[in-house]
Symmetry: C2
Subunit: 109 residues, 2 copies
DNA sequence: TCACTATGTAACTTGACTGTTACGTAACAC
DNA sequence: GTGTTACGTAACAGTCAAGTTACATAGTGA
């Protein structure tokens, strides 16, 4: 679940959103934030470890791009949560239906 | 984006997953982790602020349950990211198709 | 009323994370 | 080769978050 920690920081969060729109070299990314370039460099390495971004070298530049793999991890976790939650609601619904049915039958005679 | 920060902590992460399966009073939740009860109490208040859980009072107990609202925030962010990402891929695909078409037409005569 | 249970809050300590400056390295361009 | 550009890494300082113990509060039951 390293993806949540990676996305918890607002700078990293915005970086991922930016890279969804277009690939960018490290320098350009850093230029868009008012923190130092080394700080951004470290944010990028955190995102790399979380599989949220990828790099390719191009001349002296390192061009970063989104890595959908990391997003899948987040998606999957939320989906799992929601699934068990919905299963509970369904079970509750069936239980209420059964209760109503029994009441209806018992009230008739 | 307070939900990501809330879910970044492993204890809070597990708490949410547990509450998806069943509602639980604060004490029961704390008993499942090897951290002190006050620590869990603070985790719960963080989750409350992030709209990831809800509470209802029942006698002296405070019973916690999942709040799907917070999960929506996460879902929406990921969906937005993925959407702009896919839009890019689609645009690239169309561009390549157009290129191939132009090449086919030009190569015929 | 009095003990007991179930929780939240306060004060404090400690460890992790973020940011900065300084420095090292690899790829151009001349 | 030499200067420049584009990055990453190291060392260090400051801030914030998570854990602990001690204490306060509120509902239960006899």
């Amino acid at each position: 679940m390293t993806a949540f920690a990676a996305l918890a920081d607002p700078v990293r969060n915005q970086i991922v959103a930016m890279l969804a729109a277009r690939d960018m070299p490290a320098g350009d990314i850093a230029a868009r934030f008012d923190v130092s370039r080394p700080a951004v460099s470290r944010h990028l390495s955190v995102l790399l470890k979380a599989n949220l971004v990828q790099v390719r070298e191009q001349a002296q530049m390192r061009v970063y791009s989104l890595n959908p793999k990391g997003l899948n991890e987040v998606d999957d976790w939320v989906a799992q949560c929601r699934q068990t939650w919905n299963a509970r609601l369904d079970a509750l619904g069936r239980q209420l239906d059964a209760l109503a049915e029994r009441k209806r039958k018992g009230a008739k005679p």
